[in-house]
Subunit: 324 residues, 2 copies
């Protein structure tokens, strides 16, 4: 459960008033923030405490993560002349990232999922200068200056490959690519402008043999295309029932998801009722990893999440090696 | 094209610095704002210059429309005890609404589309107190206190029926129901919590015999259900290709849409290329009303929209009575 820590009092105590990026840059904090939800909830995997903007911030972009708002980039990319500012990401720019991965792997008995951002979503932050409702500048750039757009995507793909490789080499057992905003694209635009660099990323890390997961919000119409990206697992938000998603992606792709995180705020009963529907629909998929359909909301009661983990463990077959 | 006026210099001059709700309350301004895009673009219908929150503001809710943000409600509905504050909407609360409709109908030679908000979307503003990313309070209310939720929906359905009736009686030739945020609901939640009051609205205005349109953003997974609402026309956002939408809703429902408004900001060529795809896909629908897939963005160049209207008129069959 991505950002599960946000719901925990021990997380709020650990983080204090510091910025998110400062916390990510301190392995002691980042290791603890990664491990806390695993200890509290007994989930079957951990996801790295980090942010998709970390590699970009490490190469010199002026990025801040504003609470409740998202990444703000004060030196955005708008034209081809801005491309000169792009500097390739080197793992040595962010040694804390691999240090955190190693620390978590040493401490936890469950697999760690590393992650990075997909080029379209990273580009949207760089071009818009922050979160956007309409992604107007990003779409204008891709439709009026393909050369600059694809050069930016090449750079971002390279950055993400480097970030994922270093996490895998440090011990991550799986990786997830967040293309959070790809759902704002029509299928033809996604196929032409976003999918190629995503495919390239998955190809370039294929030789590691770790499971590759891709996820975006509002991607119901893109699932068929995302299924061709090279990922073994497709994360689905709560809008698409998993049996329907399974019909779209075919029998080769596992699905991850997809309980509406808002229902976990509503309380255990509504969350459990919806979780049972998710588990039933997930049986139609080649394989199903139960998860929320998006990140945990900060106002979630930890007891609801703990109850859900119990419910899922009680009603599903655990296929980890050596498990019951 | 909803909110087409926002892109026009004559609209900005007309509106000046006043608030949106004040402009709606002044028929001279509202009539002119409704007519401006029809004169400039030569579109085949006008849509009323108003806002879905107008009837609620008229019954005493403290609503302001903040530019670039949306409706802010400073006295939100949170519990059953708040229901006591709901006062039925009477057309006499908003005489400017029908006066504007009459004035537009007298002035324009094209049909006028009236509109109102669907209960789920109106409720989300009342419960959250404004626009929301996660609709957590709204979903919590529906899942933990069905009685209050459905009482609120009944009230809002009644308000919307009254608002639509008065617009039709004043001369509107068609009506559109905006359920803008319904796409944040999973299909089972939409079916149980939002669809019934929407059906009731369409039933209660059926006897007028005017075409009924329903629209929401990100509703790809809800199209089958929305097709059972009683509407003759389903508006689709730019995420769902119209041929795919036609397959989901069957041969009885006309489709409206669905060019990505961001492409109109990118420029005429990208917009025209995408518009041709929309026109081709729309041929698979029982009938197709060309439109954008959401409101016009304020930064759109009016010349792009004028060019698009010409393109659509040149490449599609105009089926208005007496047309070529």
């Amino acid at each position: 459960m991505r950002q599960a820590g946000r719901s925990l009092p021990e997380y709020r105590e650990l983080r204090g008033q510091g910025s998110l990026l400062d916390a990510v840059r301190d392995p002691a904090i980042a290791i603890e923030a990664t491990c806390q939800p695993v200890r509290r909830y007994g989930v079957d995997a951990a996801i790295l405490f980090s942010d998709i903007m970390v590699p970009l911030a490490a190469t010199g972009f002026d990025v801040e993560i504003e609470p409740g708002k998202g990444p703000i980039v004060s030196n955005p990319i708008r034209t081809s002349s801005d491309l000169g500012r792009l500097r390739p990401f080197d793992p040595a720019d962010a040694p804390y990232l691999t240090e955190t991965v190693r620390g978590v792997v040493a401490e936890l008995g469950v697999p760690l999922i590393g992650f990075a951002g997909a080029p379209f979503t990273l580009a949207s932050y760089l071009v818009e200068g922050g979160p956007s409702r309409d992604h107007v500048r990003t779409k204008a750039l891709m439709h009026t200056d393909e050369k600059t757009w694809f050069a930016l995507c090449d750079y971002l793909a390279e950055t993400t490959v480097t970030a994922l490789r270093s996490q895998i080499e440090a011990g991550a057992s799986a990786i997830q690519l967040f293309d959070s905003w790809s759902g704002t694209l029509s299928p033809p635009d996604y196929e032409h402008f976003a999918l190629p660099s995503t495919k390239r990323i998955f190809e370039e890390i294929a030789s590691f043999g770790v499971p590759r997961i891709i996820f975006g919000v509002g991607t119901g119409e893109l699932l068929e295309l995302m299924a061709t990206s090279g990922a073994e697992v497709l994360g689905v938000d709560w809008r698409v029932p998993l049996d329907r998603a399974a019909g779209r992606v075919g029998p080769q792709i596992a699905l991850q998801g997809n309980l509406d995180p808002a229902l976990c705020v509503a309380g255990y009963e509504p969350a459990a009722t919806a979780a049972r529907l998710v588990l039933a629909a997930g049986k139609k998929a080649a394989a199903h990893i139960f998860n929320l359909g998006h990140g945990v909301l900060p106002e979630t009661d930890p007891e609801v999440l703990r109850g859900l983990v119990e419910l899922v463990h009680a009603t599903s077959v655990d296929q980890r090696p050596g498990a019951r």
